[in-house]
Symmetry: C2
Subunit: 335 residues, 2 copies
C-alpha cells in the first residue's frame, strides 16, 4: 500500500483518545488535521489546525473550567453543533477519524448518517468497541457504497489492532477454533482524560450496562472503582472483535473471547496484552499462535497507531474505488 | 475482504511446497485448482484437477522413478514446456500460485513475463525468498499495471507470513528501529520432498551462493548437511522481508534482520519462530512487540496458509481494479 499521498483528516472528539490521535499525527508527514472538534467548539484550517494548546497541559485546564478546549485554539470558535461545522468542509476532508464516545450507542451511526446526508464521499474511521454497533453499521452498508464512503469500523486497539493481529496469527490454519484477546491497561496518570473510557468499561461489569452507566455521576463511577480497589477485571466482553472476525470469515463470533484488566492505580500494565489464536493446520495439527504487546506500550499508542494505519488502508481503498464497510480483519490477508 | 467468491487457480510447481499448496486448497471451498504442472507434465481440468495421487504417497514414487508426477494424474499428460500449457488456459485462471524454485533467480520473473506476453490479467502469487528478485519484479511494475495483473510477491512464510506479522506488530509505533525475524524448521520426515528448499538455504551459508549450490550434486549437498550434523544456522539472510517492509514504508531494509535454524534430523522445530519489532511510540516509549508461531505448526502450514490468504487479498484487489506489485506488508494497515 502506498502511504505517501497527503491525507487531510478531520478529528471528531478531543477526549483522551482524540488528543492522542492528534499527537500521533504530529509524527505523520503525510497526514494533516484540517478540522478538529469537541462538544462545544470547532477549529478548521485547511493548511493544518494549530492544536498545540490542545495536546498541551493547559488544554486540560480549559476543560476543567467547563469550556471547549477546541474553541480556545487559535483556529477555534465556539459552536453548539461542532460536527455540523466539520461537515460544512467535508469536501476538503479525505478521512474522518471519530474519537467519539460510545455513549449513546447511536452516536457513531448517527454521525455517519449526517456525513452521508451531506454528500461526503471519503473515508471514515472509528474506534468503537461494542458488537451491537456493527449491526447498525451493516444496515448502512448500501448507503455507504452508494455515497462512495469507505468506512473502517473498530480500528482502535480492541477491536482493531488485536483483531488484525488475530487475523494474521490465523494464517497457519485452515480452521480457527478459538481466539482469545486479553488486554492490560494501567492509566493512573491518564485517568482524568480517560474517564469516558473507564465509564464505558464499567458497563461491561456484571450488573451494569451502557444505559445505566450513562446515568451514573462521576462520584458513583468512583465508588465502583473504589469497590474494586481501582482494578477492574473483565471477561467475555461485548467487544466487536467477535463480529469483525466473523464478518471476515475467520471464525464464528462465538469462538472469540475478549477480556482484560484495567487498573487506574498504576501506569504499569496489570497484565500483558496477548492475542492467542488456536486452530488446526491443513496437515491436521492443532496449535496456538501468539501475539504480545510490550508492557511498555501505552493504551494511547495501541489505539492511535492502528487507527491511523487502518485509516491509511481506508484511504488506499477509497482512492481505488473500494467503498462500504470494512472491519480490521477484512483489511488483512483472507481466510 | 470478501473471500466467498470462487477462485480458480493454477499451481505451478509440485515440489514440497506445491503439493502442500494443493493439500491446503482441499480445505478451501471457494478455491479450485484448474491447472497444475511440474517440470515434465501438466494437468488441466476447468472443473477441478484430480490431484489425489499427487499428494498421496505414490505420487512421490513416480518422481523417484524420474517421471512427471503431474503427467501421471488422471487429468495429466507429459509435456516439455508445462508452463506453456498452463498459459494456454490463462483466461480461465483467476490466480497463479508459483511454487517454483528460486534457482535460477530469473525463473520467477521469466515466468511472469511469459504470462504477461500471453495477455494474462489475473493474480500472480509467489513464495520467493531472495531480496534481489524484488528489483527485477519492480522493473516489471509498469507492465503488470498495464496488463491488469495483481502480483503478490513474497507471500510464503518468510517473506510473507512473518513480514505481515511485523507490519502489524509495528502499529504501536511512529518509528521502527529494528525488525528481527527468527525461524525454526525441523523437516526430517519432509526432507526428501524439500531438497530444493534445503539447497536454496545452503546458498545462505558463508562461502556459498545460489550459483554455486545450483552446481552441487545431491551428495555434495548431503556433505554440507553432514558437516553441520544436519542442523544449519543462518544469520543476516538475504530474505526479501527487508525490501518488502521498506517498500511499504515501515522501515529501512537495513533495519530488518532474518535468521533461523534448519534441522533435517528432527521434525520438532529447533527454535521457536519469532518476530520481534522494536520501535518508538508517539509518546516516546521504545518497546518491542512479539509474534510467535506455535512450534507444532509445520513449515508447509506456515507457507501455504499465508500464500492462499495473500492470494485472496490479491484477488480482491484485482477484482477491484488494483494492479501492479504488492508485497505482504503493503496489504496490511499502512505505516
Amino acid at each position: 500500500m502506498r502511504t505517501d499521498e497527503p491525507i487531510d483528516v478531520a478529528v471528531l472528539g478531543t477526549g483522551g483518545i482524540g488528543k492522542r490521535t492528534l499527537e500521533h499525527i504530529e509524527h505523520e508527514d503525510d497526514v494533516t488535521p484540517v478540522a478538529v472538534c469537541d462538544s462545544g467548539g470547532v477549529a478548521v484550517d485547511l493548511d493544518g489546525v494549530d492544536y498545540c494548546d490542545l495536546v498541551a497541559a493547559d488544554g486540560g485546564a480549559v476543560a476543567q473550567q467547563g469550556g471547549s478546549e477546541v474553541a480556545a485554539l487559535p483556529d477555534g470558535r465556539s459552536t453548539d453543533d461542532s460536527i455540523a461545522d466539520v461537515i460544512e468542509v467535508h469536501e476538503e476532508v479525505d478521512a474522518v477519524v471519530m474519537a467519539l464516545p460510545n455513549i449513546p450507542h447511536s452516536f457513531i451511526p448517527d454521525t455517519v448518517e449526517r456525513f452521508l446526508d451531506a454528500g461526503y464521499s471519503g473515508v471514515m474511521v472509528d474506534v468503537l468497541k461494542r458488537s451491537r454497533v456493527i449491526d447498525w453499521l451493516e444496515e448502512m452498508e448500501p448507503e455507504l457504497e452508494d455515497a462512495g464512503v469507505t468506512f473502517v469500523c473498530g480500528a482502535g486497539a480492541t477491536p482493531g489492532f488485536l483483531t488484525g493481529a488475530a487475523a494474521v496469527a490465523a494464517q497457519s490454519f485452515v480452521e480457527v477454533e478459538e481466539i482469545e484477546i486479553w488486554w492490560g491497561v494501567g492509566i493512573e496518570s491518564a485517568y482524568e482524560e480517560n474517564r469516558g473510557t473507564v465509564r464505558e468499561d464499567i458497563a461491561h461489569l456484571d450488573g451494569y450496562d451502557l444505559e445505566s452507566v450513562a446515568e451514573m455521576s462521576d462520584d458513583e463511577i468512583q465508588e465502583v472503582l473504589d469497590e474494586h480497589d481501582g482494578r477492574l477485571e473483565f471477561h467475555d466482553m461485548e467487544h466487536a472483535d467477535d463480529r469483525l472476525l466473523e464478518r471476515a470469515g475467520f471464525c464464528s463470533a462465538d469462538d472469540v473471547e475478549v477480556g482484560g484488566i484495567l487498573d487506574v492505580t498504576q501506569d504499569e500494565k496489570p497484565t500483558t496484552t496477548t492475542v492467542k489464536v488456536t486452530g488446526t493446520t491443513f496437515d491436521g495439527t492443532t496449535a496456538t499462535n501468539t501475539f504480545q504487546l510490550d508492557d511498555e506500550t501505552s493504551m494511547a499508542a495501541n489505539v492511535n497507531g492502528p487507527a491511523i494505519g487502518y485509516m491509511k488502508a481506508g484511504v488506499f481503498y477509497n482512492r481505488n474505488g473500494i467503498y462500504g464497510l470494512h472491519g480490521p480483519a477484512e483489511l488483512m490477508p483472507g481466510f
